[in-house]
Symmetry: C2
Subunit: 259 residues, 2 copies
DNA sequence: CCTCTTGACTTTGTCCGACAAAGTCCTAGC
DNA sequence: GCTAGGACTTTGTCGGACAAAGTCAAGAGG
């Protein structure tokens, strides 16, 4: 089947649906289509691209999955920037599939949470401090009520807020995949280990105070302690750090895309 | 339009193409469909799901984009696990779109590369040491030849290898998005800063030696120095840490999916 | 006997037309 | 003025159709 000689490059014709997807993606990426702006109806796209509606729809599916466009409540298509959490949840799922262990999660969480705390010291604003205080209130209330799920949720939020306070979006993104799998275990620990919640509250308190005082050393120290508390609690809850993150998580992941 | 009372949940009917995609995704995720196995032809899927081919195709597009299935060279569909680098490249692109700065990248790279070195000390194998030595040879050859592109490429590989040597897949994954944007700048630096390559070679040498000697302190120290060398080199190359990662990168990213 | 061509068959990419369900918008009646 | 319809739009789905490209096996020619 080879030509007599390899004189010519193989001619590549990308499928039309891919060209459609790429064209729209370019509009979004280049900023000509701003997030929130309507992309247009399928009929319009059919007219503009001069292809069949089926073809347009296939392109739309790919873009949708890629997070470049979204359906509004009215089912219409709107441009949007690929959301972090969407990508993060995919990453988390990949981690589950590869059966990573809690030890692996822990090591990374430790490195990234401490880095978050360090950078938050330098960049935190009064508004973020305020939100951390609110969060602390929520956590104390949840602990008081003995609501482990709510406490765990708020704990996740706490760490997200600290990362956000760092002003480093790369950090915020990088920590997300591991965090999505790591922090939900707080619920489990708080259920089984009575001294979990009070220790958590104390640690958060110290972290917030350190951030307010711009005390790098304390922030680093208490975030590290807080994570090591988790490690101890995880063991006391009868779990093994070397056990793989179960598939069960796959179902209860974030409220992103179904499955 | 509201019902008289909010007694019932709104009934949600997911579109058929989504159900198709989810069903196939479940097969892959659950391991019933192993990576590399054929998913079946569109006609077969039409029969199995009892929906129209257009519907199946829309579902396929989404899965394809999600990385759960892939077209073989024969255009047929084969299952596959979402590859890290595919997700990573999407993440990297998201970072570009959000116009993160090199300073943000640097902070995260510092934290994660040092963590990689630390954990590699505990887990490195002779085989990985061997591969690092090979890589070192490649880098020295590239430097000798004055080939900045090749050198930069090999430098990326070096850091990837160290992360791999850590035995921590979460770490390997978490560092990828930032790395994809961060390390290519090495080329730029090496072009402009003559003392760049020799310093890089010395640092890598010390890191490899520290890993071989299982010397945690030295590994940490030299990885940190190496990264700070980058920082200095970046400035000496006339670039500003606070400038956003340009869109230009979006084109020359990894050889993943075309933008 | 082996190689090469050819032609039937399969599969994908694309198109056309159609229709029901659900959302939107305008209008007429109270 | 507000509400209930009704017309129109848009999406989701279906059925069928055909060209291009790949696969495979049988037959022609050495």
């Amino acid at each position: 089947m080879d030509a007599t000689q390899g004189r010519f490059e193989r001619i590549q014709v990308a499928p039309a649906y891919q060209l459609v997807a790429e064209a729209i993606e370019r509009e979004v990426v280049s900023g000509r289509l701003l997030p929130g702006e309507p992309v247009g109806t399928e009929a319009e796209l059919v007219r503009q691209f001069g292809v069949n509606r089926s073809t347009v729809r296939e392109g739309i599916r790919a873009l949708e999955e890629g997070g470049f466009i979204q359906r509004g409540p009215d089912r219409r298509l709107y441009a949007c920037l690929p959301r972090y959490n969407r990508l993060s949840s995919r990453m988390s799922r990949a981690l589950i599939l590869h059966e990573v262990t809690f030890r692996e999660l822990f090591s990374v969480a430790l490195a990234l949470e401490v880095a978050s705390a360090e950078q938050a010291v330098a960049h935190i604003t009064d508004e973020m401090l305020e939100r951390l205080e609110e969060n602390q209130g929520e956590i104390e209330a949840a602990a008081q009520a003995g609501d482990a799920a709510r406490l765990s949720e708020a704990d996740s939020t706490f760490h997200h807020l600290v990362a956000k306070a760092s002003g480093n979006r790369v950090l915020l993104l990088s920590r997300e995949p591991a965090s999505l799998l790591f922090f939900p275990t707080t619920e489990l620990i708080c259920r089984r280990v009575p001294e979990g919640p009070p220790r958590l509250i104390v640690a958060h308190r110290h972290i917030i105070d350190a951030l307010r005082a711009r005390d790098l050393e304390q922030a680093r120290l208490w975030m590290s302690r807080h994570l090591h508390d988790w490690e101890r609690g995880f063991a006391r809850a009868g779990r093994d750090l070397d056990e793989p993150v179960e598939r069960v998580y796959a179902r209860s992941l974030p409220p992103g895309i179904a499955v």
